[in-house]
């Protein structure tokens, strides 16, 4: 990048950061959807917290502990053997499983009780653990006047298990948000700049069309990286989503996705001469992808005839790749088919953009 490209790119970033509307659309909308949909799901199951208990001690004290758990409001207790209940966590039926070891008795001092839980539902676990602790303290108080006898040892067994909806949603919204930023950002802005004569004014100076494209793309990529960072941070640390795969790969996918949708944006700007038609063609490209690309629910849940179409959309390829990485910790080889799909779309859009794009204002 040369200095002129750098400065123009910085100006694009500055203009964007001062544009409240795109800021809201690009950043807060994905966050809002993530928080809303992610927690609606969690709330629904938050009214009851399903807990599994493996009673290896099977003595009077353990029975009493289980009874006290059953009396705790909001807890639904099921008992069984460790393997079955662990499966329950992985299927998402249980939030956590307490193992009462055979040594559990009124003689204990600092006995560790393992608690297995689903890291993807950390919000629920966080809610349940204090109440679990309270039930233990109640028993301890009765027995020994609050000398601590038991401690909980938490262990996440969810890795590789069934992800929560939040974990499913996060990569989808990352992809959707970055499509908005890249596609809408490039197509709408270029047509606006062209219509207002801003492009013409820029090309009074000795910069080339390539300079403009490089600056535009670089600024969008930086925006997308910032957007993805914020959504991931909020998703993971505030909402408790879990990302198992490589973050580096996820960010790499974000850049590739940004390039796909930038090319698409240039193509749309080329196909549409006026502000109205870019609005129409732009929405024609964005809206179906928003709902058909498996962002909010899996493509497999769609009507059968729709699935082949849906699975070929560019956003579908990106969502699938990001989800494979985020949830299944897929490596680059596993996502090659999705990458190939994205490459094909990039090539197609580039050819059409090169064919139809004009820099000059189009006189109606």
């Amino acid at each position: 990048m040369n200095r002129a490209q750098l400065e123009l790119g910085l100006v694009f970033l500055k203009v964007f950061s001062r544009d409240r509307q795109s800021l809201i659309l690009g950043l807060f909308l994905p966050l809002f959807l993530l928080a809303l949909l992610g927690t609606i799901y969690e709330r629904r199951s938050a009214s009851v917290i399903e807990i599994g208990v493996v009673d290896l001690a099977d003595n009077a004290l353990s029975v009493r502990f289980i009874q006290s758990l059953q009396e705790t409001p909001g807890f639904v207790i099921s008992t069984g053997d460790e393997a079955t209940l662990k499966e329950g966590i992985k299927r998402g039926d249980l939030v956590l499983v307490v193992i009462i070891s055979s040594a559990f008795s009124d003689q204990n001092q600092g006995l560790e009780l393992p608690v297995m839980f689903d890291g993807g539902r950390i919000a629920l676990v966080a809610m349940a653990v204090p109440r679990l602790q309270q039930a233990l303290v109640d028993i301890e108080r009765d027995l020994r006047n609050s000398v601590p006898m038991f401690t909980l040892r938490l262990q996440d067994v969810q890795s590789g298990g069934a992800p929560g909806y939040l974990d499913f949603l996060l990569p989808g919204l990352l992809a959707l948000g970055l499509m908005q930023t890249s596609l809408a950002g490039s197509a709408f802005n270029i047509v606006e700049y062209r219509r207002k004569g801003i492009l013409k004014r820029l090309f009074v100076t000795p910069i080339s069309a390539m300079d403009f494209v490089v600056s535009m793309c670089a600024s969008r990529i930086i925006l997308v990286l910032a957007q993805v960072t914020v959504v991931i941070l909020v998703g993971v640390f505030l909402l408790g989503a879990q990302i198992d795969g490589s973050l580096v790969l996820l960010f790499l996918l974000a850049i590739l996705g940004c390039i796909v949708f930038l090319c698409m944006g240039f193509m749309i700007a080329g196909l549409s001469g006026t502000q109205e038609s870019v609005g129409m063609i732009g929405n024609l490209a964005i809206l179906p992808q928003m709902f058909l690309s498996g962002v909010f629910f899996p493509i497999e849940a769609m009507p059968g005839w729709l699935q082949p179409v849906a699975s070929l959309l560019p956003l579908t390829f990106l969502v699938n790749a990001m989800r494979d990485v985020a949830i299944d910790a897929a490596g680059i080889v596993a996502i090659l088919p999705s990458l190939a799909g994205m490459a094909a779309w990039t090539a197609l859009c580039l050819v059409l953009a090169a064919r139809f794009f004009v820099w000059r204002e189009i006189s109606n």
């Binding site: 002129a4 123009l8 004569g197 004014r201 100076t205 000795p206 080339s208």
Partner: protein, 255 residues
């Protein structure tokens, strides 16, 4: 040594009502402008003034003919030409949400000028106190002065002004004339278009009158008046350039 030479430059566009046909918006125009001149192109709407300027500026492709600016072939090296000239377009819009200073800095960077004092330039066009304002908040006259400032960031040898005073009130117009005279006194060659006779008469050393893509007369204002203004039979009084203009282009309404 002429700083601008055009030899038979032409541009055709498809007709608006029949795109299969085309017409010559600029019909093989030739002109020579010497360094240090203020050269005016006067003509009714649609005469081809903007198209002519934009061909010389390297913004519009030249269909036929040859144009040189500062000895450089515009068609072959538009980028080199752009580095040497300053351009005020007929209508200018800028990025929203940027201040005058930020815009000037951007344009300077685009010319590869990285150590640049935007405030000094704003002072020159009397807009220093507007440094942090956005262009949209400027008055018409301030806007035109800012547009000229943008055209000066690369210290151009030639300044092209396309209707710099259209829509301005008399005060703002005179103010802009003084600015143009000041810039010309610094050695900058000025090429401007206008609809205003008085402007052409007071500001320009030479005037080309253009209509239907053709330069129909070109000379100093005085000579044009001598040659074309109708003389009242009794009194040998001077007419003015407006008389010349109407005598040459007729009274019919354009556009």
């Amino acid at each position: 040594m002429p700083i601008i030479e055009a030899d038979g430059i032409a541009k055709s566009y498809p007709l608006a009502n029949d795109p299969s046909q085309s017409f010559l918006a600029v019909d093989h125009v030739s002109l020579v402008i010497e360094e240090g001149e203020v050269y005016g192109i006067l003509g009714p709407n649609g005469a081809g003034k903007t198209t002519t300027l934009e061909m010389l500026e390297g913004l519009t492709e030249i269909d036929e003919g040859l144009a040189r600016v500062d000895g450089i072939d515009v068609s072959k090296h538009p980028t080199e030409v752009k580095k040497r000239i300053g351009v005020q377009l007929q209508s200018s819009e800028y990025f929203d949400r940027l201040s005058l200073v930020e815009l000037l800095k951007l344009f300077a960077h685009l010319y590869g000028v990285h150590d640049f004092d935007p405030l000094a330039l704003l002072r020159e066009v009397n807009l220093e106190e507007k440094a942090r304002a956005r262009p949209a908040s400027l008055s018409g006259g301030q806007r035109q002065r800012f547009t000229i400032a943008c055209a000066l960031v690369n210290q151009p040898r030639v300044l092209f002004l396309d209707e710099p005073t259209t829509g301005l009130d008399p005060q703002a117009r005179h103010n802009l004339w003084h600015l143009v005279e000041r810039l010309n006194a610094q050695g900058i060659t000025i090429v401007l278009t206008t609809h205003y006779m008085e402007e052409a008469e007071t500001l320009c050393g030479r005037i080309a009158i253009m209509d239907h893509g053709i330069i129909i007369a070109e000379d100093t204002p005085d000579n044009l008046i001598m040659a074309h203004a109708p003389r009242p039979r009794e009194v040998p009084a001077h007419g003015n350039i407006e008389d010349v203009f109407l005598a040459l282009t007729g009274h019919g309404l354009r556009d």
